[in-house]
Amino acid sequence: MINIIWFVILAAGILTFMIKGDTRGLLQAMSNSAQNSIELLMALLGIMAVWSGIMKLCEKSGIVDALAKILSPIMRILFPNLEKRNKKALGSIVMNIATNMMGLSNAATPFGINAMKELQSINPVKERASDYMITFIIINGACVQFLPATVISIRAGLSAKDPADIILPTIITTLTALISGLIFNILYNKKDMADK
């Protein structure tokens, strides 16, 4: 998918340059782009490293686990009866969401895949997504992030006045997306049941 998009964007750009007869502009844009990217990456390297250090402290000190504990009751409501049917699945889901919330997306993916495997083990029709899986995917797709560290780093790299002032709007936006996702989850689920 991204293959096609990248190809179309670049080809359309080159073609537009050619139609305009501005071949020098094209070459200039090419070298400028590469140089600017490297400058940005250098700025990003330092700030990202510092944030990752802070995140590591969250992981090691048990803040992530504490967050998981706080999330548990909410998860029990979102995944009714799952605790009785497969405790490990609920545990992985909670850890996946807790790590995602702290912006540790590399750590989150293994938990997520684990959760899917556990959910699959109690899935009656193996080829078909279970309700639990869908709820999990939807929550995952609109995951609240307390610290969008990468975004803050890039904003700092581009010398924003207050790189972190997007945190609160980001949290509110995610909650909006999450709640609407869960509402549509319920609506579609009801429709699915009615169709059968």
Binding site: I2, G13, S37, L41, V50, M55, I138, D165, L168
Partner: protein, 172 residues
């Protein structure tokens, strides 16, 4: 937004003190994280450069203006600044792509412009749905994903609109 200014320093202080009290070897642990941070910038670097490269050519050539022009009526009705439209379209598809688009928007309109801020909020608020769905369902061989994509996409659209209006509220 005075409280907001203190949120981050307080959070970092809390994390630091909490870790220290919990007898985490803060210095070594931080270094461990820094190593991971270097590694993650290293791993996103090729994606960022590649995506920014294509977007730069697309924008500098003027093709981006035509593209935005076509979508203008829609963005006008919904009061979305036209500059952030590429962000809404790319976010569900590719995280690294979205990172590139966000950076491009910030450079183009300014990091503290409304466009730049909306892009930042969008970047932090929704996941790359197609990627997540393909990885997660792929890992357990589920072929019938039912309404999960539909519901996620609706959440993405509502989230994108929310990002726009919430940023208007906060930053204007």
């Amino acid at each position: 937004m005075n409280i907001g200014v203190y949120f981050l320093p307080l959070l970092i202080l809390f994390i630091l003190i909490y870790s220290f009290v919990k007898k985490v070897r803060v210095y070594e642990t931080f270094i461990e994280g820094v190593k991971e941070g270097f590694a993650s910038v290293y791993s996103i670097a090729p994606y960022l450069l590649t995506m920014l490269f294509a977007i730069d050519i697309f924008r500098k050539s003027g093709a981006m203006d035509y593209f935005i022009y076509v979508l203008k009526p829609m963005s006008k009705v919904l009061k979305i600044p036209e500059g952030v439209i590429p962000m809404i379209l790319i976010k569900p598809l590719s995280g690294s792509g979205a990172l590139g688009v966000m950076t491009d928007i910030m450079k183009q309109y300014g990091v503290d412009s409304i466009e730049g801020r909306i892009a930042a909020v969008m970047m932090g608020s929704t996941e790359t749905i197609f990627y997540t769905i393909s990885i997660y369902f792929g890992s357990v061989n589920v072929k019938d994903i039912r309404y999960s994509l539909k519901a996620s996409l609706i959440a993405h659209i509502i989230g994108s609109l929310a990002a726009v209006y919430i940023c208007y509220y906060f930053f204007r």
